[in-house]
Structures are given as C-alpha cells and as structure tokens.
Amino acid sequence: MACIEVQDISLIYPIFGANARSLRTTIINMATGGRLDKNSGKVLVEALKGVSFQLEKGDRLAIIGHNGAGKSTLLKVLAKIYEPTRGSIHVQGRVNCLFDIMMGMDQELNGYENIMLRGIILGLSKFEIRQIIPQVEEFSELGDFMKMPIKTYSAGMKVRLAFGIITSVASEILLIDEIVNVGDTRFMEKAKQRMKSLVHQSDILVLSTHDLHVVREFCNKAIWLEQGRVKAFGAIEDVLSNYK
C-alpha cells in the first residue's frame, strides 16, 4: 500500500560563492580555526523548516506557495534526490517523477533509442520497454521522425516524445513539478487527457504548481508553504480559501 510519511523535516544547504569551494579557503579556515568563515562567501539556506504531513492511498496533494517557498525542494526530498538534514521521511511504493521531462534524452539518438535509454534509466526491463513503444508512437504522433536523431526535432516534438515516454510508466506515487506545455492547443488537450489517466492510475499524486485551476482539477488536498514552513495543510478548499 502506497504511503508517504514526512516527519518534522528540515533541509539546510550551502550555496557556494566564487571562492568558497577552493581548497585554499578551506585550508586557511583550518589554519585560522574557521574564523574567516564569514568571509568565505558560503551562505546557508534553510529551504525547509519542520515540515510534517502524511499521505495515503487516494490522496492528491497540491503544493502551493510563492516563488522560493520550497515547493520544488519538497518534491525533490520526496523523490529522495535531496536528503533532509533533520527529520525523517518514509515513502512506500514505486515513485515516478515528472520534473525535467527532457532529462537523460540524448540529442544524437533517434526516437526509439531514446525510449530504450530512458526506459533503462527508469529501471524498466527490455520487455517492458518494448511494450510501451507502441503507446509512445501513438501518443507522440511522430511517425517516421521516430527513426531520426532527436536533435532534428522541433522543441514541441521533443517534448511530445519525452512526455509520451514518462507517462507510459505506471507507478504508485506520482510527483509532478508544474504541468508541462506540450505543443499546440490540440496536443495540449491530448496531453491533459493522458495526464488525467496517469493520475487516475496512481495511488498518490503530489503536484507543485502556481496554476490554481490545475490544482482544483487534479487535487483533493493542499499544502501551503511559505519560506520553507507549512502555513496550512488540509482539504483543498480550506487551504485555498485562505490562500490569495
């Protein structure tokens, strides 16, 4: 049974200035007992502070908040890309991330080779990959372009291919960072339908977005972040009524 338990997590990370990462600075700091630290240009950012919540099967959570509130950071913590500095996180179930959908696409490879590449990165077997090929072909409508290196594609075509691949993978937990714009209006509608069926198949959805229409359409719960803290968490309408 898919579930997510986040308990009191905080995430502090360093942002390095131009010279903070040099060996010299570190050695000087060691020699001077770290007294020069404030000059080294190292800034610590507390991206998340004491965030806690629980999700279970059927929950569709929207993460809302202003720019820099920690929305993407929280998603990356859920995806286990960032490890929280404090607190604990427990995620059960197969996770599929729709962050940078172009990740791992190779410009020199053709459409089919990219399906193979991306499939392997996502941990699919060759057999599973062969099964999703017809779906991707059908969805992306690229026809003979599938046999061409993707560097010859237009931006929209690349997105269609990438979107087609990542949305073919079934998962229990779906993490999405902003719904992508997929080509023209007609295609947008098709992508939306596909997204809906994908969301429908998964047990838990966590979506970070600024678009409140999308939030209302897809989600039943919301978490409102402000400067890394939870401002509100609960049923969608309760949270949205205080937001804005």
Partner: protein
C-alpha cells in the same frame, strides 16, 4: 553508523542496477563518435602512430633494440592511457552527471561505474594495437599473458576507488581539477613507461616508492611474457583495500551533499 549504512545501500543499489550503467557507458562511447566512420578506433589509430614514432626515436635514444622496445612501450602505454584518462576524466564525473543527480534518484556510485565502463571499452579498442604490435614484431608472450586478466581485475579495483575519490574531491573543491591533470602528466615521466627500469641504477627510490610501478607491473609483465613480482601483487592488493576504505569513508560523509555540489 547510519551514514555508513546509507553509503553501503548506495553501492548495493548501483551493483543491482548494472544494466543502467552498462547501457549508459556504452551510449556515451557511441555518442562521442557518432557520424565518424571509424568511431572509437580513432583513439587506437592515434595510439598506434604515437607508439611507432616514440618507438623509433626512443629506442635509439636509449640504445634499445626496436623489436624489444616497442612491445614494452605498447604494453605499458596501453594501461597508462587507461589509468590516466580514467583519473583525469573522473574529475568531472559528478559535474557532468549533474542533470541526472538533480532529477532522478539513482545511486551516486552508479556514475562512477558508468565512467569505468566507458574507459574499459576504450581500453579494449586499444588492446588491438598491442595485438598488431605482437604480430608485426613476431613477439609471442606465451601463456603467461593470460595472467593479465587477474592483474587487470586488481588494477580496475584500484582505478575504481581512485576515480571515486577524485570525483568526490573535485565536486567539492573545484581547483583540484587542474591539480589532477598536472599530477598525471608528471607521473608519466617518472614512471617507467617510455623508459625501461633497468636503465636506472640499482633500485632507486623513484621505482620503489611509486605506486604506479606496481600497478603497471601486474598487467604489463604478463603481456611481455614474464611474471609480475610478488611485491607488486602484494602492494596492489593492500592499496586496493586501504584505498577503498578511505574512499568509502569519504563517500559516506559526502553522499548527502553531492546533490548540492553539482550546480
């Protein structure tokens, strides 16, 4: 304790996902040489020409027979190329995979495995140069040559931890990157690759204290039809164990932070 456990988990996951790094390593080689007719053989071809030119000049310079000097230089240079390119390119492992590290939860050690796969593929292409040299100079190392396989395993283990450590240090401290390449350059000249150890006086410190001498010995001696010394085997094994422990501890500390170091 928990940091050590998580680092072991990372390595374990990477070992299980061998399909990912084998495939990615292969794709990277193909990608570099796409649209070039002879592809990765370019490295081998340039190596062949380099070896012949060096062979002609250096065999005279050192007053060695060319049919003896060229196989010696080929066998040494083959593995030197593997070691040096692995270590130099290791500086960029985490940085060049930043796109992955920031987007998907794959174990960090997987990128080091992928790096080694690519280097081994290049080494296998270059190995053909050695076979050609053997043919042309009618050089037959005999069955002892098979000892190159266990020798290569111990060499690869050492190269793995060195690359891993270099990758971690270079992700954290950006000015180690140029430092590494200058060290490698110097190492070429103080290691008996282009010159034979017997040209020096009896057992100088430069041979005794240079770990590369032992690392090369376990793979080069078999290809020349001789046996590596026991000291070389012993030294390489000890180095693999101690180096791996140091690297593992460094990785345990660095692992949660690598994702923040790569941008």
């Amino acid at each position: 304790m928990r940091t050590l456990y998580l680092a072991i988990q990372d390595l374990k996951k990477a070992a299980l996902q061998h399909r990912v790094w084998l495939h990615l390593g292969w794709v990277e080689v193909k990608q570099r040489y796409r649209r070039s007719v002879i592809g990765p053989w370019w490295i081998s071809l340039s190596m062949l020409i380099f070896i012949l030119m060096m062979g002609i000049v250096f065999s005279r310079l050192f007053h060695q027979k060319i049919q003896e000097y060229i196989p010696f230089f080929t066998a040494g240079f083959l593995f030197w190329t593997f070691i040096s390119t692995s270590v130099i390119e290791a500086a960029e492992i985490f940085k060049s995979n930043g796109g992955f590290i920031k987007q998907i939860n794959l174990p960090h050690s997987l990128y080091v495995f992928k790096h080694i796969v690519r280097q081994v593929i290049c080494l296998l292409h270059n190995f053909v140069v050695y076979l050609l040299v053997c043919l042309v100079f009618k050089f037959n190392p005999g069955f002892k040559a098979l000892l190159v396989i266990p020798g290569f395993v111990i060499l690869a283990l050492n190269v793995y931890w060195i690359c891993f450590l270099v990758a971690i240090l270079c992700a954290r401290f950006r000015d180690i990157v140029p430092m590494i390449s200058s060290c490698v350059q110097i190492a070429f000249f103080i290691t008996p690759i282009s010159w034979m150890p017997r040209l020096l006086d009896q057992n100088p410190a430069i041979l005794k204290l240079n770990p590369l001498v032992y690392l090369l010995d376990v793979v080069r001696a078999p290809l020349l039809g001789t046996l590596p010394t026991e000291i070389s085997w012993f030294f390489c094994s000890v180095m693999a164990v101690i180096g791996s422990i140091i690297t593992f501890l460094a990785f345990s500390l660095a692992r949660p932070r690598i994702a923040f170091w790569v941008d």
